[in-house]
Symmetry: C2
Subunit: 355 residues, 2 copies
Amino acid sequence: MFRNFSIVPNIMFGRGSFNQLSDIINPHRISPDSYFVFVLDDVFKGKTLESRLPLQGKDLMLQVNVDDEPKTSYIDALVRQIRDYSAVKPDGIVGIGGGATMDIAKAISLMLNNPGSSADYQGWDLIKNPSVYHVAVPTLAGTGAEISRTTILTGPVKKLGINSDYTLFHQIVLDPELLAGVPKDQWFYTGMDCYIHDVESLNGTFINEFSKAYGEKSIDLCRQVFLEDHPEKDDKLMMASYFGGMSIAYSQVGACHALSYGLSYVLGIHHGIGCCIAFDYLEEIYPEGVQEFRQMMEKHRITLPRKLTANMDREALELMVTTALNLVPLWENCLGPDWQKQMTRERCLELYRRM
Amino acid sequence: MFRNFSIVPNIMFGRGSFNQLSDIINPHRISPDSYFVFVLDDVFKGKTLESRLPLQGKDLMLQVNVDDEPKTSYIDALVRQIRDYSAVKPDGIVGIGGGATMDIAKAISLMLNNPGSSADYQGWDLIKNPSVYHVAVPTLAGTGAEISRTTILTGPVKKLGINSDYTLFHQIVLDPELLAGVPKDQWFYTGMDCYIHDVESLNGTFINEFSKAYGEKSIDLCRQVFLEDHPEKDDKLMMASYFGGMSIAYSQVGACHALSYGLSYVLGIHHGIGCCIAFDYLEEIYPEGVQEFRQMMEKHRITLPRKLTANMDREALELMVTTALNLVPLWENCLGPDWQKQMTRERCLELYRRM
């Protein structure tokens, strides 16, 4: 059985395309007394980008904080804030920022049309009603959040996405100019999220020629960005992120993403850097990928934090292992149907102990 | 100004995915007394594929003939046939075949919801009403018709597509198994349509990193198919066609496609072979592409027809030139804004004379 794969149906790409945001969203201003919600990473507070947002009429600006990765409680609070702001539902949500901000925009647009807490929907295809129209404007490239059918949330009992076709954005605006000014470490970690997607997808057992075409081109673009320092590297990284997302959308990520989830859930480590930390210990599983990743780290003089688990007690370590091993599809993609024989709790624990 | 680019929003890819066609279309059987129309290339009459179509209830099978490329009069007749068949509009159209059959399915789905003749809509964004739900199942790879926002029709006064976001399929099913059994010449000519798309897109002045990422991967896949004879070549050619279509969707084709339109309009030459005939004389414009194309021809022992224009009168030749030069965006992409200085009527005539 093949999955019928849904894609974000509208894309605008180009340097300066952000200037056309109002032309894109205005036809979706349809309900009287309604408004748009702009979900903006609060790192842009007082910056030029904030003043360039095409707010009008009753539009609401929600500056969100992503120092911590998005929690279900935070989503629920933001949805309450919108409901308190107006009895009318917004006509649309625009998320401007990196993966976490885009995930917040996705989750809000789902929860405005679905009852209860966002924690109720962590899992696969639990969402019943279509979301509010929502648009992504990435200012960081690599996560693939702009194209994925998930929004990753940390809930009271698990870190797990709301996976649904309704999670998909209706529109993405890819303006490579918006990548300018990102701190180098963050640029690198987020870009490596994409590189690692590609390695995991291309080396996974779920791979097919669809995912391969996207994954191979994405990794090729990552090399141009991180090894060759190509003059068009911002444009290329944006395409790499989109292609990387398309590649895993029809296959899966693997061991590194599973381990990174454990690091995030228990230690609150952000996804991008968490992937880098975990990947550096996965030479046995992804020998060539890890070697090339280290070349990229060296070229950009990136130093990863070490000994993160040295002072952790057994219980916390075991929780990390459980979090990682619960992600069955990721391990199946990585190691095949008998993955449990290969990735035992002990082996997983040992990997975490070395980090 | 950047174009807000619409994409076919649902894709299924995989060997045997055709078997899931009924699962895909059944949720779209929504109107009481309605039905689906299966538009099938009549080359499959009596073949296994015909018997595998998931017809049920009042579904209508339309076996279409594509010995000639689709004419607007043929589309209008097929639409009348559907209207005569039932007073109720079909819930959906499924096109199964190559580029011409897919174009017929697209045009029918548009014309069922738009008044008048299909000839009235040849051009850009003339369609007013959304189309009926329509699905593509390609049995040939290379045209990119499965992903393009056009349906190329020969009308009473021109060969020109109905270009509209409404032309886009709602769903494509890419099953590489369906490519088996295509005659070698046709396989080659249709594949070269894709290869030439890529060369024209990558060497065009409209190129950006979006179109480049798709075009470069598509041409890479074409090389694996036509030069390396890769064991997964059917899967790869299907992806090459999709990527080639995505590449030109955000840029444009060029000189070869413009000249091929003239050959089709005046001599009735099919698009794929027409592209091959024209491309072989475009060494000045696409030196590397034409050289590699000749390697591919040699490897597959393809012989192109020659001296097609030897016995043509001046008037017919001039009509070919006019047809080709009317395609302004193609020439602008190929040669830049001052294309008319470079591609004069004389130079175009001379190119046709050599064919």
